[in-house]
């Protein structure tokens, strides 16, 4: 969005939460931004990459989140402001570095933006990054609306420089992937100079060496910094109260839940009875400010997503303050008023509020809701997730699945993180049998592949994508080779970090800022390790299957790279390799012995079963023209004609 850098100070613009974070960082004069793609965080670094064409800023997609943190920290050590963004899991990946960084301290303002995904809308976990603020003993900021997303990001850099330590600014899917109106501030003019001072007094935080030892001294310093943050939080404009002076109930909330709570109070017409305490600085809680507000009432409801993090912190503080303010009733997740699993919404908050206030609330008339549910049950068939039409992964898993069936030794595949994670579902023929973190597929396979002495005789495979290969699968591969494990590692190389929107990675010839860079070849890396490497086009089903069958027969580590560009990639999108059609004269329909192989098993969304004709048909709106289905039809009824616009591997 061009107005991100061209927009006028004081102007009001509709921005996505992640764009607002980027704008806040630009207004703070950020010089370096690094991250690893992951929904819902990716647009932060993407937006800054685009801004790098107009602003003096270095932006990179790092190989993984830990490296991203280290890159951003280096900028801070050299006196620049830096930002690092990632999804919740990324904080786990880099937490070892963070545990040391918070002891060594930072210099230029450094802000880490974890984007959590309550409800796991685009994750396979709903882990929380807020716990890390407590573990790392650093300040945690949580914006409560869209303007605050921008304003708090900007302020987070000042706070970091105030205390000379890392600051967490936590977003969630419902802020990062939502949009709201934001009033812009100024963009700074001057560009700071980078210089790393390291020859001063050894313990000097701004001129000495940057290390975490001596630990007891540095840990004491770190906690002193946290006390300084608390003093600033006591007067922060990001903590607000709205409501009566003596509320019957006070909601304590933060983040997107602020918007849900405000709406719930309004829906029940409780503005004169229920107060709303919105916290922007959620760790550590400012005790005096909390004392003042906890003193205003007797009953409280903490509204937050997933685990009762805020609730527990409020309860600890309320216990400490009890001699002054008395015993308070604090409700939330621990007593079951709100669920501790999944995301919240206005209705869940209304439900808790209505119960506490002994009120009735009807979303819509009961008869309407009942009829709606009934009609949905037969009018809206479930939409299971599926690989896109023309997705190379469908072809790859078709071959892997069939090779394992033919091999007939109960072989299995250890899965990993990417679009191909969906191969745990029928769209990937339910091929994946384990599924955990980035790189874990090959790590687990490395372990399975050492179980022969215990009688295990099943072939072991792992899959990983090209970006995942560089992120975390390489150490697992090294481990398997060094320890002589028996595995076949399949790299599903679709030339980009496809799931999150084609961000570059070390295997590609372009970087985050659009500059040409040398690509690291996955096959050369693997060959240099002395392992057997084969490269196939997954759209060539026969070759892929026969190569796989050969590899399954061999001992040791084998790498198979299945390379075909993602169907949605900018180079390929809307360009068909083939015009595909079902010849109704040849398709035998129900009377064919194939038992509807193309639509029932292969399940490409580009194929339709025409009930009236009793035959398969191609949906020209959906079909991406990969032509793979033509290879699977035993009757040869699916015909493909090469188009002029050819994009290959």
């Amino acid at each position: 969005m061009s107005y991100l850098t061209e927009g006028q100070p004081g102007g009001r613009y509709l921005l996505m939460g992640n764009e607002a974070i980027a704008r806040g960082a630009l207004e703070a004069g950020v010089s370096v931004a690094a991250g690893y793609p992951g929904t819902p965080s990716s647009e932060i670094i993407e937006t800054l990459s685009r801004a790098s064409k107009e602003r003096p800023i270095y932006v990179e997609w790092s190989a993984n989140e830990k490296v991203a943190m280290e890159v951003a920290a280096a900028a801070s050590f050299a006196g620049l402001r830096s930002v690092c963004a990632m999804k919740q899991n990324g904080v786990n990946v880099g937490s070892d570095f963070l545990l040391h960084l918070v002891l060594s301290g930072t210099r230029g303002g450094m802000v880490l933006v974890p984007c959590d995904d309550p409800g796991a809308l685009s994750s396979i976990n709903e882990g929380e990054s807020r716990q890390f603020a407590r573990l790392l003993e650093i300040p945690l900021l949580e914006p409560g609306d869209f303007q605050e997303v921008k304003d708090m990001t900007r302020w987070a850099f000042e706070l970091s420089e105030e205390i000379r330590n890392l600051v967490f600014l936590r977003s969630v899917t419902r802020l990062s992937h939502a949009s709201g109106n934001i009033v812009f501030g100024e963009l700074p003019e001057n560009q700071p100079k980078a210089h790393f001072k390291h020859d001063g007094f050894i313990l000097d935080p701004m001129e000495g060496i940057v290390v975490s030892a001596p630990v007891d001294y540095k840990h004491g310093q770190q906690q002193e910094k946290l006390r300084k943050a608390i003093a600033l939080f006591e007067v922060s404009p990001f903590n607000t109260y709205a409501g009566p002076e003596r509320p019957e109930l006070m909601i304590i909330t933060s983040s997107a839940c602020n918007l849900y709570s405000r709406e719930a109070i309004k829906l029940l017409g409780l503005q004169d009875r229920v107060g709303l305490l919105k916290l922007g600085t959620t760790f550590p809680l400012p005790p005096q400010w909390m004392e003042k507000h906890l003193g205003m009432g007797e009953s409280f409801l903490v509204v937050e997503e997933v685990i009762p993090f805020l609730e527990e912190n409020v309860k600890v503080l309320a216990q400490e303050l009890a001699p002054v303010i008395g015993i308070k009733k604090i409700m939330g997740k621990r007593d079951g008023h709100l669920p501790a699993v999944g995301e919240l919404n206005p209705d869940l908050v209304v439900g808790a509020l209505a119960k506490i206030m002994e009120m009735d609330y009807e979303a819509a008339p009961e008869s309407y809701v009942k009829r709606g549910q009934e009609l949905m049950s037969f009018g809206a068939p479930n939409r299971e997730l599926t690989f896109c039409a023309g997705c190379p992964h469908r072809a790859s898993f078709w071959s892997i699945h069939n090779a394992l069936q033919m091999d007939n030794r109960q072989g299995f595949v250890c899965g990993d993180i990417g679009c191909y994670t969906m191969a745990v579902l029928p769209t990937g023929f339910s091929t994946l049998k384990t599924l955990h973190a980035m790189g874990s597929g090959t790590g687990a396979a490395s372990g399975f592949g050492k179980l022969k002495p215990f009688g295990m005789d099943q072939p072991v495979l792992s899959v990983c994508g090209d970006s995942t290969f560089f992120h975390a699968a390489m150490p697992a591969l090294f481990n398997a080779i060094h320890n002589q494990s028996d595995i076949t590692m399949v790299v599903l190389d679709n030339s980009g970090t496809a799931m999150t929107g084609f961000q570059p990675h070390p295997g590609l010839t372009v970087d985050a800022m659009g500059k040409k860079v040398p690509a690291i070849s996955i096959e050369e890396v693997c060959r240099s390790l002395g392992t057997k490497v084969r490269v196939c086009d997954p759209f060539d089903l026969d070759t892929t299957r026969s190569v796989l069958l050969d590899l399954l027969e061999e001992d040791g580590v084998k790498v198979l790279i299945l390379r075909q560009i993602c169907a949605l990639s900018p180079e390929k999108k809307m360009k068909k390799l083939f015009d595909v059609a079902v010849n109704p004269e040849v398709c035998l329909g129900e009377s064919c012995g194939c038992n509807r192989l193309c639509t029932r098993i292969f399940r490409c969304p580009g194929l339709i079963w025409d009930k009236n004709l009793g035959k398969a048909r191609v949906d020209e709106v959906i079909c991406a023209g990969c032509g793979v289905c033509a290879s699977i039809c035993p009757a040869g009824a699916i015909e493909k004609i090469e188009t002029k616009e050819v994009t290959g591997i």
């Binding site: 929904t39 918007l259 299971e384």
Partner: protein, 205 residues
């Protein structure tokens, strides 16, 4: 008075569809059109698995002065713009009410379990009957086929925006559309998008 622009405050619009239909772009364009009018717009989007055949839903909250929750409370939609027939029913069942107005594209996109023969897709006559039953008033337009005739199936979402403009519940005029589309598209795509917008308006007549 800005308030005069809105029949309700907040005004709640749901745009529903399936990954790949341009749902997110449609919500951005409508959001920008209203934001340019000085209204406060909040858009909540659910598009995690969207590119991969999942349902996509955008919630637009339009107010004269306040940012609302990016999720519309259940039963509180004023308008549903359904880019896909069965998804329109799904959204109405959760966010609909007796006063909701619905514009529904009639071109189905079959879920993979329908393709596989495990589930049934409702026939269009039933979809129309049920959508009408759950709405105060419903319009059915074949936006995808019209877009196909224009040579670009993705324009279906813009035709639907044109139809929404013609409903005249929200201040969505052609000039604002042109401004908003220039923000989201390369210059050479503006003319065809304007044509699609106009087609959508005509189809509501």
């Amino acid at each position: 008075m800005k308030n005069a622009q809105l029949p309700h405050d907040p005004y709640n619009l749901v745009i529903s569809g399936v990954g790949g239909q341009g749902n997110v772009l449609a919500s951005r364009v409508v959001g920008n059109m209203l934001s340019q009018k000085g209204l406060t717009v909040t858009i909540g989007e659910t598009f995690g698995g969207s590119q991969r055949g999942g349902s996509v839903m955008s919630h637009l909250r339009i107010s004269s002065d306040l940012a609302y929750s990016p999720q519309i409370p259940k039963g509180r939609a004023h308008v549903v713009l359904g880019l896909e027939p069965s998804e329109t029913i799904r959204v109405l069942a959760i966010y609909g009410n007796r006063d909701v107005m619905t514009i529904c594209n009639t071109r189905p996109i079959h879920p993979v379990q329908v393709i596989a023969g495990e589930l049934e897709y409702p026939d269009l006559q039933n979809v129309k009957k049920w959508v009408s039953e759950l709405s105060k008033k419903a319009w059915f337009i074949n936006a995808t086929d019209t877009a196909l005739e224009m040579g670009l199936p993705i324009l279906g979402n813009i035709i639907m925006i044109g139809a929404l403009a013609e409903l005249k519940a929200l201040p969505l005029d052609r000039e604002e559309f042109e401004k908003a589309i220039r923000l989201s598209m390369p210059a050479d795509r503006v003319a065809i998008n304007l044509e699609a917008f106009d087609k959508g308006r005509e189809m509501m007549a």
